[in-house]
Amino acid sequence: MNNKIKRCKKCILPNTYPGIDFNEKGICNYCNYFEASKEMRNSLKEDLKGQFYQLIEETKTKKKEYDCIVCYSGGKDSTFLLMELKEKFNLKILAFTLDNNFLSDRAKLNIKVIVNKLCIDYIIIKPEQDIICKIFRDVLTQKIVYPTELTAMLSPLCVACQGMILAAAFRLAKEKDISIVFVGFTPGQYPDVSYENFLKTKSCIYFSNTVYKDDPPDIIKMIRDPIDEVLGEKAGKYYLKSQYLEKGESYPYALFPFHAILNYNEEYIYKKIKTIGWIKPDDTDSCSTNCLINSLANLVFLKQYGYHPYIAEISAMVRDGLFNKEYALGLEKIEENNNILKRSLDKLQLSREDVGI
């Protein structure tokens, strides 16, 4: 990272981040807003907590084959989530992984070990690999471009991948008549918006068949539109269409437990999941414990946009007191010349020049 970058003294957000402004004390407008809206946010969180528990209890009384789907990447957060939902809440879980063609071998092994150990049914879905690779290629080479609303939170490659994962999870849940999809987003991923969505619709992802003037941006559509526009229906079919539902259309509730009912403590998470045989992969970067293409996506994004794609999440964790600044800065480091990077490029049939690194 460039040493000349100015950072918020509180949350480490850099001056290259979209819409940032600093006050005379060197504190950014995001921190000021966070501080000022703290009380309101805390009350939202409290409401969220109560209703979360209620929804989980309601689901359990339905006595279906499965109470929920857990999007399970094999990474640390979703492994911990799986454990907690099984052990603390005694839910009947169907774990689900979308194989994006870049899952670390260790992550695959972790998945096997953990679902066996926890006696959880498991499904892996593998979309057409050439289509995934095409999507990844086009986002890395900026044929598919996402707007600031999305790139302020994560890299376009992660946007495209997460959109596909969520769509597959929702469709699987519908097919199997499962009413909740759990996602292991950290408290720094989509905070506020997810609380609000939940309080409006009982789902952290917004779906509605009526329109209010305070509706959130249609993120679902914003993820899909650029893919349709560049790659056509073949790729678009892997995504959901819109947050606005058509007649007769419905989706299960999406819940992010780290936003309400599970405390997020990274040290504790690592400790806990090790007890059931989870081993940290040595082939992923500092921001991922399951995905091999993450390094490449992060590096390319940094060059293209001038800030780290995880910085919004990391800074939110710093503001929340979940990370200290030094640790957070460490998470930003990207290894520029490793084999994983090369292998990812080779798999996508791209050169370093193609992606500008």
């Binding site: 979209p18 009350s43 509706d215 249609d218 678009g236």
Partner: protein, 537 residues
């Protein structure tokens, strides 16, 4: 008395529909305080304030990265403090807050049109008819008084905030009943009488938009999408409704401070090429959007001809809807090239026939070498290489049987004149969307409220893909150039098409990639048509 004690002491606070007046007063007191801290920021219109009011209520929470958006509280947060937020003890449940925001939003159009009294009566007689059915005359009078007080509260704030107006408005209408019923879901519960009253008297639905980072005289532009609250068929049916609602939308555009208004969907057609609006509403200009649209269709036509290696001098082009503004405009642009033949098609009406004859004469003057044929039936297009379709027909009129192998169809109609199923039935033709244009990705687009994609105004696609239909592009380009007054009225003018296209090139607005129904056209399809054409020659 604070809100909590008020809530306890007044159990009947929610007696009347809408938000109790004390909550209203309380909220606006806070908004006034915040606005005062910000020294009453210079915003374009009351619609700019609503997202900020929502956020103070804990709704529409701003997203990370939104620090530059005029609609995000984060933009103002070097100066504001926690006092502007409505705290937990406000007593307003989530859905009540949403109702409140909607209520404020809906009051703005009648306020700007100075029709508060009419709006109040509309609420009493239609919107809240059912809820008020057991109320006495005195109670209804009291309710009327409450609504008047709400307008006064709104007025006091708006008076202090000196709204600066904007650059443009864009008038549209809803496409289908389900679109309108999704926006105004309360209509589902109306009886026939209330529905009729609402239909006749309701007010436009508006969202404000801000675009910056533009390379043009205006680096940033403000404007409003103004939706007539009716769907296509409804407007088609009644000329009286059509005229009233066009005038209402045009007047609202003027009240908001737009310098001119563009037109989407069938607004240009409904307003007789914009002339009805221009003649009846002074102090604001109008433009149909057709100049950019025909330039864009022409550009797409040239690109696809090149893409499939079609020899233009051997090509036969059919223009369906040729007597219309877009059809005639495109014909004139195409006639400049030495195409083999142009077929001008328009359906049946005698007036269309006259128009076609006149158009034939004009085209002959542009290029005497082209064979021109006239037709009043779409069945005559079967042997044509390129079909450009731009009619007002409300159903699909082009069928698979009308298309020869290797045909290229550019459909600029709304509703679409070529059925989507044709794409699945026939892999030997290319069906393209007419008029989709591409902005630059560096153009930042901010909208005051999200709306589902409607008709030709695909708002999320504008934000995400930076794409819009030609009519909207014309509006944006003119706004970026600081245009005032009328621009393109009546039939699309090729000279204006040239002018707006050149300006668009400078701003960075060009044709989008080949697509239809939002999907990219597969390379394999283009190759297949290319092969067919190559075998043909």
């Amino acid at each position: 008395m604070n809100l909590l004690t008020y809530r306890r002491s007044r159990k009947d606070a929610w007696k009347y529909p809408g938000t109790p007046i004390l909550f209203f007063k309380f909220l606006f007191k806070k908004v006034n305080e915040a606005a005062a801290i910000l020294k009453y920021p210079s915003l374009p219109s009351p619609y700019s304030l609503v997202p900020l009011i929502s956020q103070a209520l804990g709704l529409g929470m701003p997203m990370m990265g939104s620090g530059k958006s005029p609609y995000s509280m984060i933009s103002y947060f070097t100066r504001l403090n926690e006092n502007i937020f409505l705290k937990n003890n406000s007593g307003l449940a989530y859905h009540q807050r949403r109702v409140m925001v909607d209520e404020i939003y809906d009051m703005i159009a009648p306020y700007l049109l100075n029709e508060q009294e009419e709006y109040i009566e509309l609420l009493i007689c239609a919107r809240h008819k059912e809820a008020l059915k057991n109320f006495s005359t005195d109670e209804i009078t009291e309710f009327r008084g409450i609504l008047k007080d709400k307008f006064k509260i709104l007025h006091n704030l708006f008076l202090k905030t000196k709204f600066k107006g904007g650059h443009f408005a864009h008038i549209a209408h809803y496409g289908y009943p389900e679109d309108l019923y999704r926006e105004e879901s309360f209509l589902r519960e109306f009886d026939a009488q209330a529905l009729k009253l609402w239909r006749d008297k309701s007010y436009p639905i508006v969202t404000e938009i801000y675009i910056d980072n533009i390379d043009a005289p205006n680096k940033a532009i403000w404007g409003w999408y103004i939706f007539m609250p009716h769907y296509t068929k409804e407007i088609f049916k009644s000329s009286k409704l059509r005229e009233n609602k066009l005038l209402q939308a045009g007047k609202l555009a003027r009240s908001l401070g737009a310098k001119f208004a563009g037109m989407a969907g069938l607004v240009a057609s409904f307003s007789k090429g914009g002339n009805f609006l221009a003649e009846n509403i002074k102090g604001i200009g109008f433009t149909t959007g057709h100049a950019f649209t025909i330039a864009n269709i022409y550009d797409i036509t040239k690109s696809i001809i090149k893409g499939v290696s079609l020899d233009i001098s051997k090509s036969k082009v059919a223009i369906v809807g040729a007597a219309g503004s877009i059809g005639s405009g495109v014909s004139k642009l195409i006639a400049v090239n030495n195409v083999k033949e142009i077929l001008l098609v328009d359906m049946a009406l005698a007036s269309s026939r006259d128009k076609l004859v006149k158009l034939e004469y004009v085209l002959k003057k542009i290029n005497k070498n082209i064979a021109i044929k006239l037709s009043t039936t779409v069945d005559d297009v079967v042997n044509y290489d390129i079909l450009i379709v731009a009619t007002n027909a409300i159903t699909s009129i082009i069928r698979s049987r009308h298309l020869k192998k290797g045909a290229i169809i550019i459909d600029d109609s709304f509703p679409k004149n070529v059925s989507r199923s044709i794409i699945r039935e026939r892999d030997d033709i290319i069906l393209l969307e007419g008029g989709v244009a591409q902005f630059l990705h560096k153009h930042n687009v901010y909208v005051a409220r999200n709306m589902p994609d409607l008709l030709e105004l695909s708002i999320s696609k504008l934000v995400s893909c930076k794409q819009a239909y030609g009519c909207l592009c014309e509006t944006f380009i003119l706004a970026a150039y600081g245009h005032k007054g009328n621009y393109g009225l009546g039939d699309a003018d090729p000279k204006l098409a040239k002018d707006i296209w050149q300006k668009g090139q400078i701003v960075g607005v060009t044709s989008a990639t080949f697509q239809n129904y939002g999907f990219a056209i597969e390379k394999s399809r283009i190759q297949k048509v290319k092969d067919i054409i190559s075998c043909r020659s």
